[in-house]
């Protein structure tokens, strides 16, 4: 964010570097049920992002001290493959993935009916195979589909999308260059049925008005992502779920 360069992110006609309009999302494709071992899984491609999510559980909670008599403990793990970015990412947890995992886990807690499975845990593991800006949103969107695919009772899915500022415009779903050279990034996730905000981050520099515009735009993006999530589930389960 905020790196200086001469790149013009938006041309005179209001088109972005990859030809998108300012309120246009990158192509999003989701497939549910792609891994045999997992209780539920999903594969997602969003622009050049490639993300795969797997859900295990509810199962016995380990370590034991994380168990709660009030409900199942969600354990969300966002992880980037070493080859997912240009400069190899050192394997294992870092501060960034720890933070993303924490807030994504909290976001999903709003929709999963954890109280149905006291003392258990539900693991949600997301691997970013290829990263191209917006991976936390891609990961959370895929994770919701994997949870639904695992048959875990939920009030709704969580849908996620980012908006941001490129040049002087508020744009939807930042691409890689817009992320690096843009002025702000606002990732968001909502519960589509109610519009409740379950994840909201922001970094960069925005005026109050721009921030509000960005939130409105990101909400629209979330709704578009939600349509793709539903499509993925219908594609698998129409006709009884036999593939």
């Amino acid at each position: 964010m905020g790196m200086k360069s001469d790149i013009k992110l938006i041309d005179a006609k209001g088109k972005r570097l990859d030809g998108r309009a300012i309120d246009e999302m990158r192509p999003l494709k989701i497939e549910a049920g792609v891994l045999e071992q997992a209780d539920g899984s999903a594969y997602l491609e969003w622009g050049n992002n490639k993300v795969i999510a797997a859900v295990y559980g509810p199962r016995e909670c380990l370590p034991r001290h994380k168990a709660s008599p009030y409900g199942s403990t969600l354990m969300y793990r966002y992880n980037m493959a070493p080859f997912s970015v240009d400069d190899r990412k050192r394997p294992g947890r870092d501060r960034r993935s720890t933070e993303i995992s924490k807030i994504s886990e909290e976001a999903l807690n709003k929709v999963v009916l954890t109280e149905r499975f006291p003392n258990s845990m539900i693991n949600i593991n997301v691997e970013v195979l290829q990263a191209d800006a917006g991976t936390r949103c891609a990961a959370l969107t895929a994770a919701s589909v994997a949870l639904a695919d695992a048959g875990i009772p939920m009030k709704d899915m969580v849908a996620s999308c980012a908006a941001g500022k490129a040049g002087d415009h508020i744009v939807l779903d930042l691409g890689k260059l817009e992320d690096n050279f843009g002025k702000a990034d606002v990732p968001m996730a909502i519960v589509p049925h109610t519009g409740e905000i379950v994840l909201l981050q922001m970094d960069g520099d925005l005026s109050p008005k721009e921030f509000k515009t960005a939130m409105t735009l990101a909400t629209k993006g979330c709704m578009m992502a939600y349509e793709e999530q539903k499509k993925a589930l219908k594609a698998k389960y129409k006709g009884g779920g036999k593939k």
Binding site: K66, R95, T98, T194, E196, I197
Partner: protein, 260 residues
């Protein structure tokens, strides 16, 4: 072991019941900060430091300066690193060991707030292009955890940065002697945190309010607008709740800045 106090459940009910009436256990209004005290240069040996008391919460921020290699994509710019330590001395909830997700989140949100506000003039921290730059380390050390480390920590960090004196660099070595010149800091980024308890949204959560919260939102405010934001907690906010909290944050940020 995760520490859970059996009294939290009872206190949480109490906080919820009061919040529904628009009241708080310590008698504050919903949009009031606790009493804030800032002591700068608390650790005179460090190039910069500040102790912030926000009610019973106490956080020290200390600044260290080192010379190091710049990042290859920004050979002219100094480097900022921010850490937070939730030491076991500060609360029965904290454990020794590697930083918990909570500590990582606090450090990263304060880091974003300072970095994205552009408050440190990083280009002035270049010693020799591509070879050596000043690395500014901000370390937040919590001494007593009584809620809202985000705001107290960020206030301490900003106050400490404004109080930081440069060190001398000679023949490839840092001489640990404070100079008269100050670290080039232009702005005063601060954070304002709100929590939602039931349907009520309140500023500056106390410890009991943090244990009872459904959701939390932190705004990193710089003079003209917003530079960082972070939602936390297992609950959610509606759009109008976010909008009104944000409007209030703009007012409250000015109040916080007066302490620096």
């Amino acid at each position: 072991m995760t520490f859970i106090d059996p009294s939290w459940g009872v206190k949480s009910d109490y906080v919820h019941n009061l919040a529904a009436k628009g009241e708080r256990a310590d008698g504050r209004g919903m949009n009031d900060y606790r009493k804030i005290e800032v002591t700068t240069d608390f650790i005179p040996h460090a190039p910069g430091s500040a102790l912030v008391k926000m009610g019973d919460t106490q956080v020290i921020a200390g600044i260290s300066l080192q010379a190091g290699k710049p990042y290859s994509d920004r050979p002219n710019s100094g480097v900022l690193m921010t850490g937070a330590e939730l030491v076991p001395l500060a609360s029965p909830e904290f454990e020794a060991g590697p930083p918990s997700p909570k500590a990582v989140e606090i450090a990263r949100v304060v880091d974003r707030c300072i970095r994205e506000s552009d408050s440190i003039d990083m280009d002035k921290l270049c010693i020799e292009k591509g070879e050596a730059v000043w690395m500014v380390m901000v370390d937040m050390h919590v001494l007593n955890y009584a809620g809202n480390i985000f705001d107290a920590g960020c206030l301490a960090a900003t106050a400490a940065l404004h109080n930081t004196k440069m060190l001398k660099f000679e023949d490839g070595l840092v001489i640990k002697e404070k100079q008269k010149t100050k670290l080039p800091v232009k702005k005063k980024p601060v954070e304002c945190t709100f929590v939602k308890v039931g349907d009520a949204v309140m500023l500056d959560p106390s410890l009991d309010e943090e244990h009872a919260l459904d959701a939390r939102i932190t705004f990193g405010m710089v003079e003209k607008g917003l530079c960082a934001a972070q939602k936390g907690g297992k609950g959610s906010f509606t759009q109008p709740e976010i909008d009104s909290a944000f409007e209030l944050a703009m007012k409250k940020a000015g109040e916080l800045r007066k302490h620096i």
